[in-house]
């Protein structure tokens, strides 16, 4: 595995010397003294957790929406899942926030750029402060990694809100920079392991919806985050064979690793399988974001039968095979003879 050092070594390993070394040393020692024992992310796996009964899901009149810009749900004590408000953007993606002893990983953002429109940075900071209070840590001691599942703007639009945040690294907006961020040299097969400080996240390529996409597996919650290539809605498959191969890679992974939930970036379908059309800002009866491994397997089995472009419903998701530009599911309701 050819990876950058920051992926495998804890941030604390970097030694820095200053002219006031003695003073700094005392301060460090004091900090170390109060620092509690590291959280064990390797025992009692998978870590239990839960999804909310209902996410915020927009409103009939957008300007009358009183929900917060971001719904923050703590899946468990060390895992938050963020969801953008549909009245802020119809894309309303889900964004996991994984905490480790040394680092915090934010995956995906939402489809609004500026802080004055929605303060994602503030929300993330508040989550980090909250976690640090509960775990008796100094927020400044944690490094924030801002990454995204794939190279679409609804997943990286808010990136620059983090430009002036200390102790923060974020992914660039090209395929090369994305791969470089994870130290990958053999996309998409190569699996890299990101160490958040006792908590490992496995990352590999998952092209198909777009070329530049990753799958993320959190070894602590054992959630498999599949981005936009597989989610509860219309999986827009731009490139069939790479997508099919990525699905195979996910299935192979599930064959060899325990997976509690498969989670995509969006929900565009109701509990009873109705399609919420592209762009809708109110989804009152939406299906849960989390899916089972069986649903993933069923979709893959269905995908094996697909030979032509078109829209196919697997029972869980719509597979929109190379149809993005020309077709959708809705019909004009006022047709008559």
């Amino acid at each position: 595995m050819d990876r950058r050092t920051f992926l495998k070594s804890p941030a604390a390993a970097a030694a820095v010397t200053f002219s006031g070394a003695a003073l700094m040393g005392i301060a460090d020692a004091a900090a170390a003294a109060v620092r509690p024992a590291p959280i064990d992310f390797k025992a009692n796996l998978p870590a239990s957790g839960g999804f909310p009964e209902k996410w915020i899901c927009g409103s009939p009149s957008c300007m009358d929406n009183k929900d917060p810009p971001v719904h923050v749900h703590w899946y468990n004590a060390h895992t938050a899942i963020l969801r953008q408000n549909k009245a802020y953007s119809y894309e309303a993606p889900f964004a996991p926030l994984y905490f480790g002893n040394d680092r915090v990983l934010l995956l995906d953002e939402g489809f609004v750029q500026l802080r004055n429109d929605w303060d994602l940075r503030g929300v993330v900071d508040e989550c980090i402060n909250d976690w640090c209070r509960r775990n008796n840590r100094d927020p400044a001691s944690l490094e924030l990694l801002v990454a995204f599942s794939h190279l679409h703007a609804d997943h990286f639009a808010a990136t620059n809100q983090f430009a002036d945040r200390p102790n923060t690294r974020y992914m660039g907006l090209t395929h090369e920079e994305m791969l470089g961020f994870w130290g990958m040299t053999n996309f998409p097969e190569q699996v890299v392991s990101l160490d958040l400080g006792g908590r490992e996240v496995l990352i590999w390529g998952s092209p198909g919806h777009v070329i530049s996409e990753f799958a993320y597996y959190d070894t602590y919650t054992q959630i498999l985050f599949t981005g936009d290539m597989f989610y509860r809605g219309r999986c827009y498959i731009s490139f069939w064979q790479p997508w099919f191969d990525s699905m195979k890679r996910l299935i192979d992974f599930c064959d060899t690793h325990p997976v509690t939930h498969v989670m995509g970036c969006h929900v565009e379908i109701s509990k009873d399988g109705q399609d919420y059309a592209y762009g809708m800002t109110y989804q009152p009866d939406e299906a849960p974001v989390q899916m089972t491994v069986q649903q993933l397997r069923d979709a893959f089995a269905y995908a094996k039968t697909i030979t032509k472009p078109g829209i196919y419903f697997t029972g869980t998701v719509f597979l929109c095979n190379q149809t993005r530009g020309t077709t959708t599911i809705d019909q004009y309701p006022y047709r008559y003879d």
């Binding site: 009149s61 300007m63 429109d117 929605w118 809708m280 530009g325 599911i329 019909q331």
Partner: protein, 362 residues
């Protein structure tokens, strides 16, 4: 921009408005005293003791202008603070109401016309909840002010829809139910036909709604909706066409009816002066052939509402071209969707239009 000999744009001003008014500072070649002055009653009525009888007679269209820009939503719909209904007075007796696009993405236009014997509300908006879309309150307030200015105690209101079945135009009706001195044109197709006296002739024939010296013609125009009608106002010379003709994605409900209705409109235009066709929505951008997708809540590059009546020829030509085909066809000022999804896209770009990709705002 036609100019006359004595007018020099260099000396007397160039138009910077999108509406392209040729004489931004007035046309010096026209007489100072134009006959349209008699269609104004705001001030001369001030000290009358009896209700004003407004003069709805005029040579050509009654004076009036759309100068304001329509509200167009905002990037973050939840933070929009524009009025829920934008009210624009076209002239003293003609109002246009637009629903805020952040209340409902259809952002329909609703028209309120006054005559000497009553008022007509054309269409009723896309939202039933008065807290989100205070149609009744807004209409009541305009009628109150108008009736005070005209010295009228009662202004009977007729509410008519360009399509009774269209949920983007009929939702506000519930707010007007039970309103005093109000007649709501019944919605079921058969009852509506009889109301307009078109029971035997539909879709031929014409109905009318007499507002008192301002007689609105009712033209059956099914095609996008089974129960579609258009309204013609001989005072402003406006044709209100709802979903049949508007600058946007025109979803055809029945292509035979659609072509027949356009032919009917074309024949109507031949012997009635039409200044503008006003539809129920705007979906096109001012970039040729480009449109906003469904559910968009931020439309900063919207095309103008007004459609030149000459566009009917192009519309009819391409309506005939798509007849019998499940297809989508893009033109500069409209898009036709026949038998396909409202979200249909097409790789076919019309060769006579520049293909400009407008910037996408975040």
């Amino acid at each position: 921009m036609p100019t006359r000999a004595t007018y020099s744009p260099v000396l007397s001003g160039n138009s910077m408005s999108v509406t392209g008014s040729a004489y931004p500072n007035g046309n010096p070649d026209l007489p100072y005293n134009l006959p349209g002055v008699r269609n104004t009653d705001s001030v001369v009525a001030l000290h009358r003791s009896t209700p004003v009888i407004h003069d709805y007679g005029c040579d050509g269209p009654a004076p009036g202008r759309f100068v304001m820009r329509w509200i167009y939503g905002s990037n973050v719909a939840a933070r929009n603070r524009d009025p829920r209904i934008q009210v624009v007075q076209y002239n003293e007796d003609t109002f246009v109401l637009r629903q805020n696009v952040c209340v409902h993405w259809e952002a329909p236009f609703t028209y309120l016309l006054f005559g000497n014997a009553g008022a007509l509300l054309i269409d009723a908006g896309a939202t039933a909840d008065a807290r989100h879309y205070p149609l009744r309150e807004t209409v009541d307030a305009i009628i109150t002010r108008w009736s005070q200015a005209r010295g009228r105690r009662k202004v009977p209101l007729t509410v008519a829809l360009t399509s009774g079945e269209d949920v983007a135009q009929n939702q506000g009706l519930v707010q007007l139910a039970g309103r005093a001195d109000t007649v709501i044109v019944p919605r079921p197709l058969e009852v509506m036909k009889r109301f307009y006296g078109l029971g035997a002739t539909w879709p031929s024939g014409r109905g009318k709604i007499d507002l008192g010296d301002r007689v609105i013609a009712v033209i059956p125009t099914p095609g996008t909706h089974k129960d579609g009608v258009s309204f013609y106002d001989p005072y402003c010379d406006f044709l209100f066409t709802g979903d049949l003709i508007f600058p946007g994605k025109i979803n055809i409900g029945n292509d035979r009816d659609f072509v027949a209705s356009l032919e009917r409109i074309k024949a109507f235009i031949v012997d009635h002066p039409v200044k503008s066709i006003l539809g129920g929505h705007i979906e096109m951008m001012f970039v040729p052939g480009r449109y906003y997708p469904r559910f968009a809540t931020y439309k900063p590059y919207e095309r103008l509402l007004e459609i030149d009546p000459a566009l009917i020829d192009e519309l009819l030509e391409y309506a005939r071209a798509v007849q019998g085909k499940d297809t989508m066809l893009i033109r500069r000022d409209f898009v036709l969707l026949n038998g396909v999804s409202p979200d249909q896209r097409t790789p076919d770009w019309p060769s006579d239009l520049p293909n400009i990709t407008p910037p996408r705002p975040f």
